[in-house]
């Protein structure tokens, strides 16, 4: 009886190993199961979901106008001081002084893509872009000014 149990043990052990071997042989011989994405080659066909949080950008329309009033809601919402808004005073045609943004400084190297600034923005001036290849050789390149040169605030945005 001892011998029988011993042999049984050996066979059940071998069977469990054979089951595993069959599974790996299946994958070895079925190459259509391969899930590797060949990343730099498939760059053109990569599709990112439109909610993907890659970096913060400011939306500009065709007239080089944005919707940022410089209210600093995003700056306050940001947990790690990623956004710094530098304001200036524009002179309106009526001769009044009006607050506007000079520079919308965005530190990509500090950003954790938490989306709080985009949620906080009352005028939907900023949004998350789907870019993701952020590596640069110089750290200073990661500090970006989001408003384009000579852009101004869209009419009617308060």
């Amino acid at each position: 009886m001892f011998i029988l149990k011993y042999i049984k043990e050996v066979f059940s052990g071998l069977k469990s190993l054979a089951v595993g071997l069959r599974r790996t042989l299946y994958y070895f011989s079925h190459h259509k199961e391969i899930i590797t994405q060949q990343y730099p080659d498939n760059r053109d066909t990569l599709v990112f979901p439109d909610r993907f949080k890659g970096e913060v950008v400011m939306v500009h329309d065709d007239n080089n106008e944005h919707a940022c009033t410089g209210c600093t809601a995003c700056e306050l919402a940001c947990p790690n001081a990623t956004i710094k808004i530098i304001t200036k005073f524009d002179i309106t045609p009526e001769g009044k002084k009006k607050k506007a943004i000079d520079k919308f400084v965005y530190h990509l190297e500090l950003c954790t893509m938490c989306n709080l600034c985009v949620v906080a923005c009352p005028t939907d001036a900023i949004k998350m872009a789907q870019t993701f290849e952020h590596s640069v050789f110089n750290r200073a390149e990661l500090t970006k000014v989001l408003n384009k040169p000579d852009s101004k605030i869209r009419e009617g945005v308060e």
Binding site: R23, F52, M113
Partner: protein, 371 residues
């Protein structure tokens, strides 16, 4: 470790496992004393990746501090965020819309499956089988894609906000989740073929790393680690939050108390999470995804505590508020820290190879232990 050399018996060797070591999945530093292959003592040394998250949170507002908790237990980041959001809601007495509650639970359970998938692969890799790791990632990738579509990120989503969730679910969400459930169900038998049933694996797991129910309680173990020893500790059952009390699921309990029992708890938990998702996915109520909240959140003066069940065990958030916009003090009760403390007790007298298996079954995430 100079100071310990004097205290060792003859023939004992002290080995530093970590902070950089393939078995520690991160930067856990264990100082182990061995005699031959037999472990005499295991001393975890923490502090290598301490980022003082609790202190950081004191300077962040109640909306901002949530995202930091994704960086603790990064494999159950949704659930961590969830705990913080719940705690703030408790303080502000916000009623969360039922749609948001269902979405939160769905996300939690998806996260739990993703976490257990990764654990399963890493566990097998600890034991020297590399293939399951890649196979587990295939299913986990499907969850990550769902997360990416709805939350916009794959690992640290920051989707839970006080009052609900940040955005409504993506229109594709339900169909994608159903696809995932079908994929998972078709592949789960492979897990048994490759790992669970394997005679080598069973011999490595059964009877090692014994942790009795009494010890599990006294070490403060929670989650699958304690449930493997037969301790009922599922927060979703004992202190239900959100809609868990209306759901029909089973708390997985194994009585073995060894590495294999802990392994089986996690594997069976994945199917329970699938069943929770199946119950909810077609029944997401219409309505708001977020309650109306004030622009600036101020918690009333007092102390607030909220516990949730993460993939690793009980996670607690303790907030002391002085009535301002930022918390006066925050304390996190992380499951990994308590679970790790049982390692020394479990490992004494077993072999070096078993230590790796035990660490695998504890499912340690180092940033969670060392905040």
């Amino acid at each position: 470790m100079v100071e310990e050399i004097g205290s060792t018996a003859a023939g004992d060797i002290i080995i530093n496992v970590g902070p950089q070591h393939p078995a520690t999945h991160g930067v856990l530093h264990l100082v182990i004393t061995i005699n031959g292959e037999t472990i005499q003592k295991v001393e975890p040394h923490l502090g290598y990746i301490h980022r003082s998250i609790e202190k950081m949170c004191e300077s962040l507002t109640y909306r901002q501090f949530i995202y930091v908790t994704s960086r603790m237990d990064y494999l159950s980041s949704h659930i961590n965020n969830h705990a913080c959001a719940l705690c703030v809601e408790k303080g502000l007495q916000i009623e969360v819309p039922s749609r948001a509650q269902v979405i939160r639970v769905l996300m939690d359970e998806l996260t739990r499956i993703a976490s257990h998938e990764l654990w399963w692969g890493a566990m097998a890799m600890d034991l020297g089988a590399f293939t399951p790791f890649f196979h587990a990632f295939r299913e986990r990738e499907a969850i990550n894609d769902i997360m990416e579509e709805t939350c916009g990120a794959r690992l640290t989503m920051n989707y839970m906000v006080p009052g609900g969730v940040m955005q409504d679910i993506h229109p594709n969400f339900q169909s994608r989740v159903k696809e995932f459930i079908a994929l998972f169900k078709s592949k789960v038998s492979e897990y048994n073929e490759l790992v669970t049933g394997n005679i080598i694996f069973q011999n490595r797991m059964k009877g090692v790393g014994n942790l009795s129910a009494a010890d599990a309680i006294s070490f403060g173990c929670t989650g699958p680690t304690a449930r493997g020893s037969g301790v009922s500790c599922d927060i979703r059952k004992l202190y239900p939050y959100e809609i868990y009390d209306t759901l029909n699921f089973e708390e997985i309990l194994e009585t073995g108390g060894d590495s294999f029992a802990r392994y089986m708890v996690r594997v069976r938990e994945m199917s329970q999470s699938i069943s929770i998702i199946e119950q909810l996915i077609d029944n997401i109520p219409e309505g708001d995804f977020q309650a109306k909240t004030k622009a600036v959140l101020k918690l009333p003066k007092g102390e607030f505590y909220q516990r949730v069940e993460t993939a690793r065990g009980e996670f607690g958030v303790y907030i002391v508020s002085e009535g301002g916009t930022t918390p006066y003090r925050i304390k996190y009760r992380s499951p990994g820290f308590s679970n790790l403390s049982a390692l020394d007790h479990m490992a004494r007298g077993s072999k070096l190879g078993d230590l790796v298996a035990m660490m695998g079954t504890l499912d340690l995430v180092i940033p969670d232990i060392d905040r």
